[in-house]
Amino acid sequence: MRVKLSKRVLKESLYALKSLITGDIRLLLGLVIFMAYAVLAFVVSRFIPFSPKRWGVVPRDIPPCWNYPLGTTSMGQDLFWILTLALQNSIIIGIVVASVSTFVGVVVGLLAGYKGGYLDRILTTLTDTFIAVPSLPILIMLTALFLGRIHILMLSAVLCVFNWPWPAKQARSMMLSLRERTFIETAVFSGTGTVGVILGEVMPLIAPWILANFTNTVLVAIATEAGLATIGVSSLEEATLGTMIYWALQYQAMFRGHWWWIAVPAGTIVILFFSLFLVSTAISSIFSLERSAK
């Protein structure tokens, strides 16, 4: 019985995934671009022929050419290999922050919406406050204490503090509208506990939205890290998309005419974020279509 059920669930979710991917060209395009970057970050980066962080391994200041497809830096580093490492670190930061803060946000939001009363009021106030506080000055002040040597995971933990409120706010409003529906009442009156209702009844309905929000948070986290790095308070020894910009700015790449040095991280950020944004909007628009059809 159990096996049969899980098989059915698997089959259904596979079908849903297939219809999701083929149903919306935006989703397909976004996923293809993101996957290409992910392959660069986690597969291609395994084949780095030399330590890309070392200086003077390749000739300096070479514009993109056949041997160095993205050019080289003034420190004699190959931008292509640096980029693979940077993508790896940036995507790790994005995924860690998105997982933790989406989880925390959804739990807080659902709890607030489901329980109501004082708990709801306290949690909602807290959520609204965190949304209103300008986060970057606090983040800059905090990361500045690490003198540019903060560990990537520590940085992710810090970023989580400001990324859970948005999912919490939305999860709460979804819970509020779901709570009035009859099938939830039926579940409650037939003796299902809070956890059971949330996992069994509510989760399947808001799962696509959680996915969309997750994608969006990946984007925000990568962007925030890169912003901190641009000012010079991220993990400067590691390659991330932001530290690439930082070093290019430090060496005045733009005004010395080394446009490729700054164009590589900037262009990557633009295309990567476009793909993530495509995925998240496509998922949420499919989701809202499905909801209005019901």
Partner: protein
């Protein structure tokens, strides 16, 4: 109680709470960091090669302990910290001793607020107008192109947009100056000349934020007005033969503007975040550039002052927008139920 007073009161409470929690975060955070800020700052100072008498070193350590509020028990520290934040007494700047932190902030805050307000207003007005039209003519080709354009533009972070603009308009086509908010040699005054140089210097920083925000307002307004166009009352208005202008203003705008104003109040913090980085990249003499200066010279007093004040400034701006809200939303004036 009249609903408008009730509304204002509840908004005021959440305003104070925002500031309170923001400042509390500033207090809690450095205590979770496994690095001792005092040692960090001291090592940064000695790193530069300055020789210090042991006496002076000890005195500096004491001062740092005090400025960080690390003296006394945790409660004492916290109340000291709150007192300093709420009385606005941040002491002298450590890097520009003996100027007061408050004076430095007072000099740079107008630049940031000016930038923040003009970019928010410009992008909000234009983005919503374009989005409204794009939503009304949602089946035209130009509307779809515009949506694609907004989708590419919106996810770009402010600082990347700033880099792109610096590359295009300063390096490639040297049309605009890079540094500062006005040409060298000008004293802030109310003359036309000064105004022109300020406009010329602020154009690119403002543009970089406006473009990105424009993307967001176009997208959200287009979505909103597309949804409104499917409502029955709009169809009725069209059948009734009302002019397009009337339909747009009375039927679309009235309904779509409310959520957009709420959004504006909520995105202010975000725009402010962006402004910090933009100021840094364009060397614009606002709060953001100051914060960078404070960070790079380990000026704790200035850092604390800027962070606290920016929390207050952004929350106050959001509060003002929300207090204007009842003028536009009649439901608050007549009672919400």
């Amino acid at each position: 109680m009249r609903p408008i007073i009730k509304y204002a009161a509840s908004r005021l409470v959440s305003y104070l709470l925002t500031i309170f929690i923001g400042i509390t975060l500033c207090f809690i955070f450095p205590r979770f960091v496994p690095i001792d800020p005092v040692t960090t700052i001291l090592s940064r100072t000695t790193q530069t090669g300055a020789f210090m008498e042991p006496e002076a070193f000890r005195a500096m350590r004491e001062t740092l302990l005090e400025t960080f509020g690390l003296k006394g028990s945790l409660q004492e520290q916290y109340f000291n910290f709150l007192r300093r934040a709420f009385t606005g007494d941040f002491g002298p700047s450590l890097s520009a001793y003996p100027s007061k932190v408050n004076d430095i902030i007072a000099r740079s805050l107008p630049w940031t607020l000016g930038l923040l307000f003009s970019v928010s207003l410009i992008s909000w007005v234009f983005g919503n107008l374009i989005g409204l039209l794009a939503g009304y003519y949602k089946d035209r080709k130009i509307s779809k192109t515009l949506e694609l354009f907004a989708m590419v533009i919106y996810p770009i972070p402010y600082y990347v947009m700033a880099l792109i603009l610096i590359f295009v308009f300063i390096f490639w086509l040297p049309l605009f100056p890079l540094m500062g908010a006005h040409a060298i040699g000008f004293k802030p005054s109310l003359s036309l000349e000064f105004l022109l140089t300020v406009l010329r210097h602020s154009f690119l920083p403002a543009l970089s934020i406006v473009i990105v925000n424009l993307g967001w307002w176009i997208l959200s307004m287009r979505a909103l007005s597309t949804r409104i166009s499917e409502e029955d009352f709009v169809r009725f208005a069209i059948v009734k033969g009302l002019r397009t202008r009337v339909i747009l203003v009375r039927y679309y705008m009235r309904n779509a503007l409310l959520p957009q104003i709420t959004q504006l109040a909520m995105t202010l913090g975000n725009i402010f975040n962006g402004a910090i980085l933009t100021e840094y990249l364009f060397a614009y003499p606002g709060i953001g550039a100051m914060l960078w200066w404070a960070v790079s010279s380990a000026d704790v007093n200035l850092m604390m002052g800027i962070v606290t004040l920016s929390i207050i400034a952004v929350s106050t701006s959001a509060l003002l927008i929300d207090l204007i809200y009842p003028l536009i939303d009649p439901r608050i004036r007549y009672g919400s139920k």
